[in-house]
């Protein structure tokens, strides 16, 4: 398992290159089934393993954190919300309109052994990060070997 490690001794560009190469390697990795949603659905997601569970990251810039709805049911994580355009009511016109707006709802199917009850979500700089730990029963445990 390739673990991303960044060295503070390296310059940020080298660290970023490492990250870009790794993200490219797992682009649309067919080994992971997300259920009904896929590439092209909003918001785009990246999924990582952090050793203790799964980390789902989504790029959703310009949201009021209170209006982001993250929920879990069974093995499915759902991210819902509405991306609203800024107030431009009295504009004389526009030159470019490239940013997507509207309501969205994206569900991602996660592996069985996770505990969605213990998931924690955080929104910063337009990135939503949801950490879902492994279920207790799925964690590796030491089995005592008793002498005969």
């Amino acid at each position: 398992m390739a673990l991303l490690r960044f060295s503070p001794d390296l310059d940020p560009v080298s660290n970023l290159l490492t990250l870009q190469t790794e993200l490219e390697r797992f682009l649309r990795n067919p080994a992971i089934g997300l259920g009904v949603s896929g590439p092209g659905d909003f918001p785009p997601v990246n999924i990582f393993d952090d050793g203790d569970g799964v980390v789902v990251m989504a790029e959703i810039p310009g949201m009021d954190p209170a209006s982001l709805n993250v929920s879990g049911q069974s093995h499915t994580l759902t991210i819902k919300g509405e991306r609203k355009r800024e107030t431009v009511g009295d504009a004389a016109g526009y030159h470019r309109r490239e940013r997507p707006f509207g309501e969205f709802s994206r569900s991602v199917q996660l592996p069985d052994e996770l505990d969605l009850d213990k998931a924690a979500a955080r929104y910063e700089a337009g990135m939503l990060t949801v950490r879902v730990p492994k279920a207790e029963s799925a964690k590796p445990r030491q089995i005592a070997v008793n002498p005969a």
């Binding site: 940020p12 970023l16 870009q20 682009l27 959703i60 355009r85 800024e86 470019r96 940013r99």
Partner: protein, 132 residues
């Protein structure tokens, strides 16, 4: 129903770049609206913190640079990805006279909002037509 269909846009890499610094640069998606006395620009740069954005206006060229950090990815191992991350770069030639001393820039939740006030010359003015 007036519900709008929202789709994820594939991130666009900066075309024809030849930079001394290696790595991918992405074009932030922008909206540019024109108002009577200003031009407003919004740029989507998810992953860029408030302190990591740089806006310059020089010789009529507006340059936006957003720098991302690898910090959040420390000790993670990718399983499945739909987008790559990188710094953002975009330039616009302004064909309007902009009052460059009063440009307002606000970075919030990964969106840069720029207010470019029009200079005196560029402001639309109503010209009184006198009847003789």
């Amino acid at each position: 129903m007036t519900e709008q269909e929202i789709a994820a846009k594939e991130k666009q890499q900066v075309p024809g770049q030849e930079k001394t610094r290696a790595g991918r640069f992405f074009l932030p998606g922008v909206d540019i609206y024109e108002f009577d006395d200003s031009i407003k620009l919004w740029a989507d740069m998810p992953g860029v913190k408030e302190s990591d954005v740089e806006v310059t206006l020089k010789e009529g060229v507006l340059t936006i640079i957003g720098t991302v950090s690898t910090e959040a990815y420390e000790k993670l191992s990718p399983l499945y990805t739909e987008y790559n991350v990188g710094n953002y770069f975009r330039q616009f030639e302004l064909n309007e006279d902009v009052d460059d001393k009063h440009i307002g820039a606000l970075m919030r939740n990964g969106v840069l909002e720029l207010t470019l006030p029009k200079g005196e010359r560029a402001q639309a003015r109503r010209i009184e037509v006198r009847t003789g």
